[in-house]
């Protein structure tokens, strides 16, 4: 399913950011004393929250807990397996 260029770009940006967060999360699990990594984690997590809020306001919830707006938007298509991500990965 095609989604608008704006939406796809923002979604991919969030996906990339959240991936970096997972990577840092795993690293910090075995290096909890690394303050530099912790700093980067905090920065990325701030940025991710910011972009998610923007995405959810414009296009709909990423998690069900943010599913209620004026209507129940959570069930709206497309689901992650239906989106046409187009070429180029991220």
């Amino acid at each position: 399913m095609k989604i608008s260029k704006d939406r796809l770009e923002l979604l991919k940006e969030i996906m990339a950011l959240d991936f970096s967060l997972i990577e840092l999360n795993l690293y910090l699990d075995t290096h909890p004393e690394d303050e530099k990594a912790l700093m980067v984690f905090k920065q990325y997590s701030c940025k991710s929250r910011e972009l998610k809020e923007k995405y959810e306001n414009q296009f709909g919830p990423l998690t069900a807990s943010n599913g209620a707006n004026r209507e129940w938007k959570w069930i709206e298509d497309p689901w992650p397996w239906e989106i046409d991500y187009e070429m180029g990965g991220r």
Binding site: M15, D18, L26, D29, T63, P80, G88, G89, R90
Partner: protein, 190 residues
């Protein structure tokens, strides 16, 4: 507990045209060293880990594997979505279509259904972490075989990402193993 996020970890895109790779991708959907096995294996072994770092790494890698399982499922779904039964038959996944239609079902590349016998849990953190490191290497090898078996640029790109994750997981499990070993040594001498 877990919370679903309406996004993939990596944008799984498919160029199209290589229907044959769908059958082979099932190796990582429901095979012995599949993402499903990885997720269940690590989440099963969490409760006997003696140190915080190891409990965290099994929880977080186990969770990431479920996101990878979703990516593999998405690739297969996208590849078979528009194919006719005849095309599926020619691509070697006729038997899957007969029994499951276009649903994803956890079986390996040869159609053998997933079983808990693919994973181990010995209740010994050293033994379990060795099993986990071996599993990561086996998954990496399987991804290399898959990458060698297709020309689809999208599939190759996504599989390369997943292959790289196995390398990172191996590294993190190695660190957890060292930390657990140090902890057990300290416990013995003091």
């Amino acid at each position: 507990m877990w919370i679903y996020e309406k996004k993939l970890q990596y944008p799984a895109w498919v160029e199209g045209g290589d229907l044959n790779i769908a059958k082979l991708l099932f190796a990582q959907y429901g095979g012995p060293d599949s993402e499903l096995s990885a997720g269940i294996r690590y989440l099963t072994q969490r409760t006997t880990m003696p140190i915080p770092q190891a409990k965290a790494i099994l929880t977080d890698i186990g969770t990431e594997e479920l996101a990878h399982w979703e990516i593999i499922g998405t690739l297969i779904h996208k590849i078979i979505e528009k194919a006719t039964p005849k095309q599926l038959e020619e691509a070697g996944i006729g038997p899957h279509y007969i029994q499951h239609g276009k649903d994803l079902y956890p079986h390996d590349a040869a159609g053998v259904p997933w079983t808990a016998a693919y994973i181990q849990a010995l209740g010994d953190p050293i033994t379990n972490l060795h099993e986990d490191m071996a599993a990561e290497q086996k998954a990496r090898t399987t991804y290399e075989h898959l990458i060698q078996s297709t020309n689809d640029k999208g599939v190759i790109e996504t599989l390369s990402f997943l292959r790289q994750r196995e390398v990172v997981h191996f590294q993190r499990f190695g660190e957890a193993l060292r930390l657990v070993q140090e902890y057990l040594d300290r416990k013995m001498y003091y």
